[in-house]
Each structure stands twice: as structure tokens, then as C-alpha cells.
């Protein structure tokens, strides 16, 4: 660029700084929003990925029901694709805090890891002995506090740990639990409330329940590369795990079988030996008895002899006396013998009892060993990947929501920004027409003339782009993460620079500036120098459409006529203004609409559609009992069989929930089936089904279609769709229980029911009252679900507020810029009007009336663009279990319109000052 050319360019910037700033600001805003929203998901994923990498998050979690030993761990660690492997123990147990009498909480109990899934201490030091533990931060536990394992836990669980009470030494965060939600459990109230880590020494077990494996890879979480990497290895690892488990298992099995054999042998030999001894003892006893009997006979005979001798020789004969002494000795001996025999008999009985006991014991041992073997034989091995980790999976879904908003919205921003750049640059080129002509006449090439404008717009765009990118990528992820943090672990989000995004932002801003400048310059530059230096003939006035309706036209005030003519006079400006304002209005409307749609779905779902108070899941074998229980405890219920089925569509499957209702008669008290127009729809008959809107929408199922459902046992259901009902959470299909029974050809018992609580007691109490009965699996209170859903979606709220704020800023700049252009374009006309003696207010009315009219048209156009834009954005936001309703509430239209009008008003205030400053001497100047 020649020196003087550079000077004129720089001076141009200085003199038209407002315009320069407008381009800069609009690009900054467009790029800032674009890059900020686009950067958020990668930044969040990057942050989490960093955290997981830092703590060596696992790739495979391998579980064997027969457990693992050190050898298995070693074997896994030796695999070529393995970075490290570590055995671990985990189980659910309920704990309480004795010092604070805190209600029991179900905590996942883990072995403190050394290598994989390492935990990060927020406060305190890691536990070191068997009476210390680390717990989740932010759950109200304090360092030094003692937690106690509940004695009501299963004995198997209690046997796992050496102590009963543990001192909290650290508050930690764990990569294994990214989300507040930690999944379900079979104990306590059914949900895992938190986690606790204890050192290895605290566990009283030889085996590991699971082995974590880190594979050698650097792939980013959720990335396709990572998923492919894992998919490729899953089969191999399943095989390997099976084999490794088998080795350990075979050893265990062999041990158990040897033990069994020993036990059997011992048992049998014991029995034999015992029996022999017993037999011998019995024989001895019998002998003794016989001897005694003989002795008795002899004694009896001796007694008879003695009596006889007494009679003959008298009692005093020494012979008799001797005989008597002998006899009494004999009797004493005999009596002793009897006593001995009795003792012997008792001993024998004892021995017999002992023998019987022992043999029973031996039998038990055998039975135990056999049971153990049976258990071992029924063993299974699971190779679980990261997707089975609830925090990991939830984070993917949640972070994707932002990404989905990021798909379309920013594009619209950029479009509006481009439009404004285009208008501004066209205006500038037009203003500089004569100068272009002069430069051309002097001999500057078209390129260097265009260079001036290019430099002007591109430098503004570049500065704006850098500013917008820096602020956007810094601010957006930070603000959005703040809301997510409530649900996730509290770590700080690092700045994430995405090179491709930066390049895209630069490209987009260059396209907006250079592209539009080129378009604007092209036409003018084509003209010859001479024609450029001649003033451009002012655009001819002409009659506009309304004039041909004299009925209307003649009633208008003169100045109104002028305004109408002016509006239609500059078609380009009219178009720009209406699209510009319309675009902003559309963005605002979409922003508010997003809020309406997102905020409202939980209320609609649980306030208008699923009107039951709660759902109870129970074991189907307890159906009769539950039926009785609910009849007594609730204010009505509707039984159904709940099952998870796969919907077959286009050779793919989608897991859905099938509810087979026993009796649709009173279902309306629990669930309102209505279509999107709020018209109630009829319930299904035999072999019919009604499906939720999400299924119809996403899998292209229409009324009259036949759908096929398949369960885990590959049994199929064929149902005719007779209706599509409004439903916002989960993908549901309702049919009759009879259909299920007939098609599966077996008796089906309900396992779920909707209930309405009685009045009086709080719902929470009533729920707990029902929950404690055996056979009840869970009681889901819908009011709580509704709150939870609303909380979950509140993270989206922030995004929406950001969108609205940005749309508002954009709207302001657009209106300012367009109005500014409008006025500079008409300076002479305005000056002349002032010379004619128009008062200040008349002058501004003369100009701004048009502006207001255009704003109103813009608002109408904005509504016309906004409604489809909103539905488009909504259609892009897909959360599997949530089907948002696409609504824009009436007040949102009002808010958007009022905001647009306020911006217009504020801009008009600025413009009045500007009008005031227009020098009347302008009108004396020649056209330049």
C-alpha cells in the first residue's frame, strides 16, 4: 500500500471511528458467541479428560463373581496393550455417623487405589490404617468424624471389613464418581448416597472383586477413536478375562473339590470308625449285662442255699455266717456291676449322640462344599467399559446439550453480523464514490483501492475476532461450567484453546468482512473514473403501493405519506433494516422460547400428564400381597407390567419402556393420555399400543404403523399404533396386559403401579411406609422427580440467559448501526429540512418515524423467522430421556418485542443527538 494510501486509510478509521467500532463490535460479538458456545463442550470434555488422565481413569473394569487373586492382576498387567492393572474391592454398605445421629446412608465402599482411579484429596490426608477412611467431599462429613458401618448390613458385607468404625481422615473427589448421582443399589432406600475409600489393610478378604485395567492409549474421552479403540479390544478382553478367571476359578474349584473329597472321606471313615466303636461298646455292654445276669442268678441261688442252710443248721453256724458274708459281698459286687453297666449304657448313648451330631456336621460340610462348587460353577465374568460408569456417561450427555445448542445458534449470529458488515461497507463505499473515482483517475489499481476498504473492514474484523474469541472462549465455558459444577465434581475449568475453532472463527470473520467488502466494492469499482466522479443521481422517487389505495392514502397526514414513501424508497435499506431487526428479534424469541420449552417440560409432565403421586415397583411374585397393601394404604392405584424392550426400526434397535396396563378403566386418574393438541386419545385395545411423542418423532413411527418389540430373550411383540401421546420423559409405549399375555402366551403379573397417596400424612412418610414392605423395590415420588428434572435442566437455563444476553447485545448493535447508516445517508435531506424551519421534534419525527415503522416490521419479520428457528433449535437439542415441548409462551413474544423496542428507543435517543448535530450548512454544499 502506498504511503499516502495508508495515511488516508488510517485517517478514515480515525474519522469514522464509530463505524469502525460497529464492525469491530459486531464481529467480536458474533465470533465471541460462536466460539464461546462451540468451545464450551470441548473445554468441558478437555477438563474432565485431564482430570481422568491425571487420576488414571480405567478403561476396563473386569468383574468375576468368583473373584480375582494377585496372579490374575499380574496376568492382566502383562498384556502388551496394558499400561497398568490393579485389583480392587467394592461393595454397597450402609453407614451412619454416631456422633451426629445422621440417618443411614448407603455408601459405595472401595479399596483405596494406588494406581487406577486414584482419588484427589480436597482436605486432609489419605487413610493409612484399617480404622481410617476417606469420604466424598461436600456431603457434610468432617475430618476427624467417625462413621460406623451398620450392623444390619448383610453378614457377607460385614465380614469384608475388619473394623466397625472408621475415622474420616480425608475429604476427596474421585474420577469414578464425576456426578452427584451415583446410581442405584439393592439396599437402603435404593440409591447410592456417596462413597467411602479404605486402605487395603481394612479389608478382611484374600480376593479382589474387580480388576481395573488402563490400556495404553492417549485418546480423548468420548472420542470416536477412543470408542473404536475400546470396541476393537472388547472381544479380546472378554476372552482373556474368561480364561484368566477360569484359572483362578479352576484352582478355587479344585480346592473346593479336594475339600469336598476330604470331607467326604473323613465323614465316611469317621462314620465307619464310630460305628465300629459303637458296635463294640454295645457288644461289651451286652456281655456285661449277661455276666451280671449270671452273677444275679448265682447270687439268687446262693441266697436260696443260705436260706436253706439257715433252716437246717441255724443262723448262727459259722458256715452260714461265712456264706452270708460271701453273699453280701457278692451282692455288693453285683450292684457295683449294675452301676457300671448303667454308666456304660449312658456312655454309649452319649457316644451315639456325638456320632450322630458329627455325622450331621460332616454332611453339612459336604453340602456347603457342594454349594460352593455350584456357585463357582455358575460364575460369570463381566468386562465393563467406561460407559457403564454413571458419572462418565452422564457427563457426555450433559456436555452434549451445549454442543447441540452450539450447532445452529451461532450460525445465525454470524449471519446477522455479516449482514451488518455488508450494509456498513456498502454504505462506506458509496460515500467514497468520488474518492474512488479520483484514485482511479490518478492511476491506482482497482486492487489497491479495494485494499483500502479491505484493510478497513478486515482490520476491524480481525481485532473484533481476536477480542471476541478470547472473551468468548474464556467466558462461556467458565459460566456454563459454574452451573454444571453443582451436579459434578468441583474442579476448575482450564482455558481450552482449540486451534481449529480459532481458524474457523478467523475464517468466519474474514468472510464477514472481506467477503462483504468485496461484494460492496465490486460494483462501484467497475464503473469508470469519470462516472464515479460525477455525482450519482439521487434515487428517483416513485409512487409506492399504498398510494394506489386512495381510500387509505388520502387519509394519511402529509408527513406520514413522506415516511411511507421513504420506507419503500430504499429497498436495500428496507431489507437490511427489517432483516437485521428481524434477525435480532428472532434470536431473542428463540432464546426466550428455549427457556419456555426447557423450563416447562417437567411441570407439564408431572403437573398435567403423569398426574399420579408416585410409582411403585415391586417383585411380581408379591403381587397379591402388594395389591392388599396398596388397597389399604393408598387412594387408588393402577397396576401394570413394566418391561424394557427393544423397538426395532430401520434394522436398528432402540430401548424403550413398555407398560402393559392391567386395566385402562381408571388410568386417567394417574396418567392423562392426550395428543400434542391437548385432545385426549383413546386407550389401546388388544394388540394395539399407544406411543409417546418422542418415539413417533425420533423413530418415525406413525399412527396405523405396526411396531415390533423384542426383549432380551428375543421374544417379539407386534403392536398396531393407535395413538401418539404427549410425554416428555422417557420413551414409553403403553399396551394392555392382555396383549402381552396373549402374544407371549404366558401369564404376566404386574410389577409396577401408579398410586395416589391418601390425604393427611406427608407423601414422603407414606412413600417410606410403602417402601419398607418386603417385595417393594422402589417408590418413586413424582414431585421429587419433577424437582430433580428441573434442577437438571437449570444448567440449560444459564445457556439460555447467555443466548438472550448475546442476542440483546447483537440487536442493539444492529439497530444502532442501521439507524446510523440511515441518518448519515440522508444528512443533506435532513439539513435541508432543518433549514426549512422544522423544529427539533419535527425533524426527529421525520426521520425516526421511519425507524420505528421499520422496527415494527422487523419485529413481525422476527416472529416469522423466530418460530421456525426455535423449532429448529429445539429439534437439534436431543436428550434421550427427555422430549422437550416446543413452546413459546405469549409473554416471550412480548419480552422480545419490548426489548427490541427498548433498544430502538435508546438508539433513537442517541440519534436525536446526532440529528441535532447535523450542520445546516450541509445543505449548501455540493453533492459529493
Amino acid at each position: 500500500m502506498a504511503r499516502s494510501m495508508r495515511k488516508t486509510t488510517l485517517r478514515e478509521i480515525k474519522h469514522t471511528f464509530g463505524r469502525y467500532m460497529a464492525i469491530l463490535a459486531i464481529i467480536a460479538l458474533g465470533v465471541g458467541f460462536f466460539s464461546g458456545v462451540r468451545d464450551t463442550t470441548p473445554a468441558m470434555v478437555n477438563m474432565m479428560n485431564g482430570f481422568l488422565e491425571e487420576n488414571n481413569f480405567y478403561d476396563f473394569r473386569i468383574i468375576s463373581t468368583s473373584g480375582w487373586n494377585d496372579k490374575s492382576v499380574e496376568e492382566f498387567a502383562e498384556q502388551p496393550d496394558v499400561l497398568m492393572a490393579e485389583g480392587s474391592i467394592s461393595f454397597d454398605a450402609s453407614y451412619y455417623v454416631p456422633s451426629r445421629s445422621i440417618d443411614e446412608a448407603v455408601l459405595k465402599t472401595h479399596m483405596l487405589p494406588e494406581k487406577i482411579n486414584t482419588i484427589k484429596v480436597v482436605e486432609g490426608t489419605l487413610p493409612e490404617n484399617s480404622e481410617e477412611c476417606a469420604v466424598e467431599q461436600g456431603r457434610g462429613y468432617k475430618i476427624g468424624e467417625k462413621i460406623r458401618i451398620n450392623e444390619s448390613n448383610d453378614s457377607e458385607v460385614l465380614e469384608m471389613v475388619k473394623s466397625r468404625e472408621f475415622t474420616v481422615t480425608a475429604l476427596v473427589i474421585s474420577p469414578y464418581y464425576l456426578n452427584r448421582e451415583k446410581g442405584t443399589t439393592t439396599i437402603g432406600n435404593g440409591t447410592v448416597d456417596g462413597f467411602v475409600y479404605m486402605p487395603k489393610s481394612a479389608f478382611d478378604t484374600e480376593y479382589f472383586s474387580e480388576i481395573f485395567v488402563c490400556l495404553d492409549n492417549d485418546y480423548v474421552m468420548y472420542s470416536e477413536e477412543y470408542n473404536d479403540f475400546i470396541d476393537d479390544r472388547t472381544e479380546k478382553w472378554e476372552k482373556l478375562s474368561e480364561e484368566t478367571a477360569l484359572k483362578h476359578h479352576n484352582k478355587l474349584l479344585a480346592d473346593a473339590e479336594a475339600e469336598l473329597a476330604d470331607a467326604k472321606e473323613e465323614y465316611e471313615s469317621g462314620i465307619k470308625e464310630g460305628q465300629e466303636e459303637l458296635d463294640k461298646a454295645a457288644a461289651e455292654l451286652a456281655d456285661g449285662k449277661k455276666t451280671l445276669e449270671d452273677t444275679k442268678k448265682q447270687l439268687d441261688a446262693a441266697k436260696a442255699d443260705i436260706d436253706m442252710l439257715k433252716a437246717y443248721i441255724g443262723a448262727n453256724s459259722p458256715d452260714v455266717q461265712k456264706a452270708e458274708t460271701d453273699y453280701s459281698n457278692g451282692v455288693a459286687e453285683y450292684e457295683k456291676g449294675v452301676a457300671d453297666l448303667e454308666k456304660g449304657e449312658k456312655e454309649y448313648k452319649d457316644a451315639l449322640a456325638e456320632f450322630e451330631e458329627k455325622s450331621a456336621e460332616g454332611g453339612q460340610k459336604i453340602a456347603d462344599a457342594e454349594k460352593e462348587i455350584a456357585k463357582l460353577k455358575a460364575r460369570s465374568v463381566y468386562v465393563l467399559n467406561r460407559n457403564t460408569n454413571i458419572g462418565y456417561a452422564l457427563f457426555e450427555n450433559d456436555s452434549e446439550i451445549v454442543e447441540q445448542v452450539a450447532k445452529v445458534f451461532p450460525v445465525f449470529f454470524i449471519l446477522v453480523a455479516a449482514l451488518v458488515c455488508m450494509t456498513t461497507m456498502s454504505r462506506m463505499v458509496e460515500e467514497q464514490r468520488t474518492q474512488i473515482g479520483i484514485l482511479k483517475a490518478i492511476g491506482y489499481s482497482e486492487t489497491s483501492i479495494m485494499g483500502k476498504f479491505m484493510f478497513y473492514s478486515c482490520s476491524a474484523a480481525l481485532i473484533g475476532c481476536v477480542l471476541g474469541f478470547a472473551v468468548g472462549t474464556k467466558l462461556f465455558p467458565a459460566i456454563i461450567w459454574v452451573t454444571y459444577k453443582i451436579m459434578y465434581i468441583p474442579i476448575d475449568i482450564p482455558y481450552y484453546f482449540d486451534k481449529n475453532l480459532a481458524l474457523a472463527a478467523a475464517a468466519v470473520s474474514m468472510l464477514c468482512s472481506a467477503g462483504t467488502t468485496w461484494i460492496a466494492c465490486r460494483v462501484e469499482l467497475k464503473e469508470t473514473a469519470a462516472s464515479l466522479m460525477r455525482p450519482k443521481a439521487p434515487k428517483a422517487g416513485k409512487r409506492v403501493l399504498p398510494e394506489y389505495i386512495p381510500f387509505l392514502w388520502n387519509r394519511l397526514k402529509f408527513l406520514h405519506k413522506v415516511s411511507i414513501r421513504n420506507i419503500f424508497r430504499y429497498k436495500g435499506r428496507f431489507f437490511m433494516m427489517v432483516t437485521g431487526i428481524g434477525g435480532c428479534m428472532a434470536l431473542l424469541l428463540t432464546g426466550f422460547g428455549l427457556k419456555d420449552s426447557i423450563a416447562g417440560f417437567a411441570d407439564t409432565q408431572y403437573g398435567e400428564i403423569q398426574t399420579a403421586d408416585a410409582a411403585v415397583s415391586f417383585l411380581d411374585e408379591k403381587y397379591e400381597k402388594i395389591n392388599e397393601l396398596l388397597t389399604e394404604k393408598t387412594n387408588g392405584f393402577a397396576m401394570m407390567n413394566h418391561g424394557s424392550w427393544d423397538l426395532l426400526y430401520e434394522d436398528r434397535v432402540k430401548s424403550i419402556d413398555l407398560e402393559a396396563v392391567e386395566d385402562f378403566g381408571n388410568i386417567s386418574e394417574f396418567m392423562v393420555f392426550r395428543d400434542l393438541e391437548k385432545q385426549s386419545i383413546s386407550t389401546p385395545d388388544l394388540n394395539e399400543a399407544i406411543i409417546s411423542h418422542s418415539i413417533s418423532d425420533r423413530y418415525n413411527v406413525e399412527i396405523g404403523d405396526e411396531i415390533t418389540l423384542r426383549d432380551a430373550d428375543m421374544r417379539e411383540l407386534h403392536l398396531t399404533v393407535t395413538g401418539v401421546f404427549e410425554n416428555h420423559t422417557y420413551n414409553l409405549i403403553y399396551t394392555t396386559l392382555e396383549t402381552l399375555e396373549k402374544q407371549l402366551n404366558e401369564d404376566i403379573t404386574p410389577n409396577k403401579t401408579f398410586i395416589n397417596f391418601k390425604t393427611g400424612e406427608t407423601h414422603g412418610k407414606q412413600a417410606a411406609d410403602i417402601n419398607k414392605n418386603s417385595g417393594v423395590i422402589s417408590v418413586e415420588q413424582f414431585a421429587k422427580t419433577r424437582d430433580r428434572m428441573a434442577e437438571m435442566m437449570s444448567s440449560l437455563d444459564y445457556i439460555v440467559i447467555l443466548v438472550i444476553a448475546c442476542a440483546a447485545a447483537l440487536a442493539f448493535i444492529v439497530i444502532y448501526n442501521l439507524t446510523n447508516i440511515n441518518i448519515t445517508e440522508r444528512q443533506r435531506e435532513i439539513a435541508a429540512i432543518k433549514v426549512l424551519g422544522f423544529f427539533r421534534r419535527e425533524t426527529s419525527a421525520y426521520v425516526l418515524r421511519e425507524n420505528i415503522a421499520l422496527t415494527f416490521m422487523g419485529i413481525l419479520a422476527g416472529i416469522a423467522i423466530g418460530i421456525p428457528l426455535h423449532s429448529f433449535v429445539m429439534s437439534q437439542i436431543k436428550v434421550d430421556i427427555v422430549d422437550f415441548s416446543t413452546v413459546i409462551l405469549p409473554q416471550s413474544y412480548i419480552y422480545s418485542a419490548v426489548l427490541t423496542l427498548i433498544f430502538n428507543f435508546v438508539v433513537n435517543l442517541f440519534m436525536e443527538i446526532k440529528l441535532e448535530r447535523i450542520n445546516m450548512a450541509e445543505s449548501l454544499k455540493s453533492v459529493d
Binding site: 443521481a537 439521487p538 434515487k539 428517483a540 422517487g541 416513485k542 402529509f558 405519506k561 413522506v562 414513501r565 421513504n566 424508497r569 443533506r828 435531506e829 439539513a831 435541508a832 429540512i833 432543518k834 433549514v835 426549512l836 424551519g837 422544522f838 423544529f839 427539533r840 419535527e842 445546516m920 450548512a921 445543505s923 449548501l924 454544499k925 455540493s926 453533492v927
Partner: protein, 234 residues
């Protein structure tokens, strides 16, 4: 009889940073009612400043300007607007017609803000544009556009018709025709007309000739030998 327009020692000083520029440095002149006056001077002599001040578009630094007994030198911005609105008719070098209004509507635009306007159609008839009333400016020739501009100024029924180089953008013959129209208007309606020009040839048709030089009135004389507009040549 006191003069209709009086300039008394009018000074106008522009400050350009440190330096002061005296656009008018004590200008004195007067114009009587019904006169056709030409103010003539070279570029930069101060003509436009006189025009701006007399037209109520600019304020003066010191001195007095009196129109029909009213001192406008002390007027507020708003009063000046009223002054422009009711007392002054302005004809610009480049016409400054509103492009999307027809000839008639352009005249109406001015007329509708005045207290006692003349009938727009009548005025247009008077300037010879009876046939072109419904045309837009772009459909009119330069001379015709300037006639519309004159009609617009006249329709306001002002006390003073101020014309800034009315022939500046026109060719010779058209320029002469416009000058004739102005002269005829002056003669027929008794309107006081002030024409500002650098073209001293035009001064031949004036009743009063005021020459401006270096911010002062160097010469003011009544024309003894008033030429008809059609007869002057340059």
C-alpha cells in the same frame, strides 16, 4: 423609512484551535423592503457567512442583525428555527428537493409548516410548472428543479427570499430564466429577494449591489441602471 434588513457591525469569528478566523469583521449594510439585492464577492470573502447568519442558520459573534424590526442576533436556537420557519424562504444552489416527493409535495412540505402559506399549486403555476406538478424531482430538469425550490420558498410566504448561488448548478440559459423568475417575483409580489453570488455580472439586474471583501462590505450602492434579467450576459 428605516431599512427592512440591517447588518450592524456584524462580526463572526471561528476558532480553529489556537488561531481565530474572522469570517466577518464588522459588516454593515441594509436592504429595503421589496428590493432585489445581490451580494457579490469572491470565494472566502464572507458571503456564505452573511447568508448563514441572515438565514438564521448560524449565530454571530457580535453586532446586530435586524429583519423587519426584529433583532435576530440575540435569538435562541428555537427562536431561530421559528425565524427560519416563518420569515425566510431559502433557495439552494443544489435545490435540495426531497427526492421522493413530487414537485407539488415538495412545495407542500414547506407550506404545511407555515402560518399563512400560499396555495402550493398556485405557486407552482406562478413559476411555470403547472404541467409538472405531479413529477418527482428526478423527472425534472435542473432548471425545473430550481423552480420547484423557488416555489417551495415562496409558498412559505416569507418576509425574505434568500438565494444561494441559484444559478450555480445550471447552464447559462436556464440560469438566466431562473434569475428572471426571481426578478419577476420581486417585481410582482414585492418580495424582498437577496441573491448571493460570486458572479458579478448578475449584479446588473439588482436594485442594490453589496460587494463583500475580506469579511467587510467594501461597497454598497443602488443600481442606477437596472437591467432586465433576460438582458444580462456573462
Amino acid at each position: 423609512m428605516s431599512a427592512f434588513v440591517e447588518f450592524k457591525n456584524v462580526k463572526k469569528t471561528y476558532k480553529m484551535g489556537e488561531t481565530e478566523i474572522h469570517a466577518l469583521n464588522g459588516a454593515d449594510f441594509e436592504i429595503n423592503k421589496g428590493e432585489f439585492c445581490v451580494i457579490v464577492g469572491a470565494s472566502g470573502a464572507g458571503k456564505t457567512t452573511i447568508l448563514n447568519i441572515l438565514g438564521g442558520m448560524d449565530t454571530l459573534t457580535s453586532g446586530n442583525v435586524i429583519l423587519d424590526g426584529t433583532d435576530i442576533s440575540k435569538m435562541s436556537k428555537k427562536q431561530l428555527t421559528s425565524y427560519r420557519r416563518y420569515d425566510i424562504g431559502f433557495v439552494f444552489q443544489f435545490y435540495n428537493l426531497v427526492q421522493n416527493l413530487t414537485a407539488l409535495e415538495n412545495v407542500e412540505l414547506a407550506a404545511q409548516i407555515c402560518r399563512e402559506p400560499l396555495n402550493a399549486a398556485d405557486v407552482l403555476k406562478q413559476v411555470g410548472l403547472e404541467e409538472r406538478m405531479k413529477n418527482f424531482p428526478a423527472q425534472l430538469s435542473g432548471g425545473e428543479q430550481q423552480r420547484v425550490a423557488i416555489a417551495r420558498a415562496l409558498a412559505k410566504n416569507p418576509k425574505l427570499l434568500l438565494c444561494d448561488e441559484p444559478t450555480g448548478a445550471l447552464d447559462y440559459n436556464t440560469g438566466k430564466a431562473v434569475l428572471k423568475l426571481l426578478q419577476d417575483t420581486c417585481r410582482k409580489t414585492g418580495m424582498t429577494v437577496v441573491v448571493i453570488t460570486h458572479n458579478s455580472a448578475i449584479s446588473a439586474m439588482a436594485d442594490r449591489i453589496i460587494t463583500v471583501k475580506n469579511g467587510k462590505v467594501s461597497d454598497m450602492r443602488l443600481n442606477d441602471n437596472i437591467a432586465d434579467a433576460a438582458d444580462i450576459e456573462w
